[in-house]
């Protein structure tokens, strides 16, 4: 039994460390982007266009991951792109979580008319195709980082609201909630102090998932040129540009794609790992 448990812990630990490690690396890159990127991410050089990555013949020192069709350094653009990706992940993810989880908790715990109103909103929201909805929103709000964050919150709060509502309904039916009420606790108090700690593990998992999703949404919007201005490199923008020259210079597309993939994966794995840490039953 002892062995089984420690094995499980070790496996969970590896997951947590690997995903956390990648995200820390990314955060450092984003923080110190101007100092660590080998080139100016915007500097164009027609004579150094489509240079291959360092292990292929024809590579040039100073451009370790090659250059795109305008001669811009891929690695530097990726490092700068991490700023947008992480910024959007953290801010949009957290805001979406706050809005969605609060509404879900209120709907699930209080039931009655608040639940009726919130649930109908969720139903209506989920009927919109999310990508079209986001493009429409950006069209109305205009491009820019703030618009993207607002769009993500407006589109994705239902993801939290739905799941947290269901969890809160389940927890609300437990006897400990009744006991708290009998002991004289106010209903709102009970929600915050008794129910919330029990849905917190789920909120954490959803939050990290949402951060991954926010990265994807930003990339999608960049891909269709609706993200922020073109003088700020983004992974989505790089993927979009790389797509055109995929047969001549695969590296322009593949490197940002891989880091996008790793980032989204890391966020979801981080969430799972944290949940295991948080949950008193699994701990």
């Amino acid at each position: 039994m002892v062995d089984g448990r420690s094995l499980v812990t070790r496996k969970m630990g590896a997951r947590l460390w690997l995903s956390g490690g990648w995200l820390v690396l990314l955060a450092l890159a984003a923080l110190f982007a101007p100092w660590i990127s080998p080139q100016d991410p915007l500097a164009q050089d027609i004579f150094a266009s489509r240079l291959p990555p360092f292990w292929q013949s024809g590579a040039e020192p100073g451009f370790p991951l090659g250059t795109d069709s305008l001669g811009r350094d891929v690695l530097s653009r990726m490092i700068h792109g991490a700023r947008v990706a992480l910024g959007v992940a953290l801010i949009a993810g957290t805001l979406t979580c706050l809005v969605g989880a609060s509404l879900g908790l209120i709907a699930g715990y209080f039931r009655g008319w608040p639940d009726l109103v919130i649930s109908r909103f969720i139903d209506i929201w989920m009927a919109f195709p999310p990508v079209l909805f986001s493009i429409l929103l950006i069209a109305v709000l205009g491009t820019g980082l703030t618009s993207i964050i607002i769009a993500i919150v407006v589109i994705d709060w239902t993801r939290f609201a739905r799941v947290i509502r269901a969890e809160a309904i389940g927890q609300g039916a437990m006897d400990y909630v009744v006991s708290a009420q009998v002991a004289g606790r106010k209903r709102f108090d009970t929600m915050i102090r008794e129910v919330l700690p029990n849905v917190l593990p789920t909120i954490v998992v959803l939050l990290t998932l949402e951060m991954g999703i926010a990265v994807i949404i930003e990339a999608i919007l960049s891909f269709v040129n609706l993200s922020i201005s073109t003088d700020q490199p983004t992974w989505g923008g790089m993927i979009s540009e790389g797509r055109i020259s995929i047969h001549q210079a695969w590296w322009v597309l593949i490197f940002p794609l891989v880091s996008l993939f790793l980032t989204v994966l890391s966020f979801s794995q981080l969430g799972e790992g944290l949940k295991d840490r948080f949950d008193p039953v699994l701990r």
């Binding site: 006897d175 400990y176 006991s179 708290a180 009998v182 700690p197 029990n198 039953v281």
Partner: protein, 290 residues
């Protein structure tokens, strides 16, 4: 002696009209243990919930009084009612698995109530909690105070719930089938414990159960409920000697006897159920004409 808890003419309905409790009268003196028996769906638990103000949101108290220690709960504002109930009454819930908050340590769950609602100092509340855990025969109370609910067995958790119920020295405890979720050995211990604690603290106890054997052991009086209607309310000795209502007699015959464990049990006969159902219908008709 004036009763500590007096319920008179309590009507609870589901939605607008469907009756759940039909003009229930019930009294409980200080230190008295009253059993509340009836089959599933008879409304036993709903009486307890009506007293504590935790009825499901679909149910409404239509009329009637619930007087707890001289205060008519129905007439109090929400805030005052919470205060009165919090100070004077407590609940021993049915399912020990869901009645403790899984994300909080046992100690906090016992002391919170003393600290938050009754304004105790945390140190004093902790000392009291350890004393209570000791009183309900929990070994290593210090260690248990720091444990999470999932680390303890069902019987242990039920004993902790009993300790928590007695923590604020309430005058009334409502035990809602506290032994249903336990195995037979744990049941016996928990029953003995509740009885012991109730005797020591002089608490009034409303014991909701469908087990007449339990009633005969720890209650002084009992109320038989069928479909939300009180059929019989009497002392335990009188009840087991000469049950007045036909349904009560049938219930008694359906209970295994310790003196004759091999005797075959008689299920409640259909004519008795039909007669009782007619009685309920008659009651409703009479109510409609008033």
């Amino acid at each position: 002696m004036t009763p500590f808890l007096q319920i008179s003419n309590l009507n609870v309905t589901l939605g607008q009209t469907h009756p759940i409790l039909r003009s229930v009268d019930l009294t409980l003196s200080e230190g008295e243990t009253r059993g509340l028996v009836g089959e599933s769906g008879a409304g036993k638990s709903m009486i307890g919930k009506a007293i504590l103000g935790t009825l499901p949101s679909a149910l409404r108290v239509r009329s009637g009084e619930i007087v707890l220690d001289g205060e008519d709960l129905q007439r109090l504002a929400d805030k005052d009612r919470r205060r009165v109930i919090g100070a004077k009454a407590a609940l021993i819930p049915q399912d020990p698995l869901t009645a403790l908050n899984p994300s909080k340590r046992i100690g906090v769950q016992i002391t919170n109530r003393l600290v938050d609602i009754l304004g105790w100092r945390r140190k004093a509340a902790e000392a009291r909690a350890i004393e209570l855990l000791d009183e309900v025969h929990i070994p290593n109370p210090d260690r248990v105070m720091r444990a999470y609910p999932h680390e303890l067995s069902g019987g242990m958790r039920q004993r902790i719930l009993i300790a928590a119920a007695f923590a604020a020295e309430p005058k009334l405890i409502i035990a809602d089938e506290p032994t249903t979720a336990l195995d037979v050995t744990a049941q016996k211990q928990v029953l003995k414990l509740i009885h012991e604690m109730q005797q020591r603290h002089g608490t009034s106890l409303l014991f909701v159960t469908h087990d007449l054997g339990v009633v005969s052991k720890i209650c002084q009086s009992l109320t038989v409920l069928y479909s939300g209607l009180v059929l019989e309310s009497t002392g335990v000795d009188e009840f087991f000697a000469t049950p007045r209502h036909a349904y009560s007699r049938a219930l008694l015959q359906a209970t295994p006897k310790y003196t004759d464990p091999d005797a075959s049990l008689t299920p409640v006969p259909d004519p008795v159920i039909e007669a009782t159902q007619r009685e309920v219908q008659m009651f409703d008709r009479k109510q409609a004409h008033v």
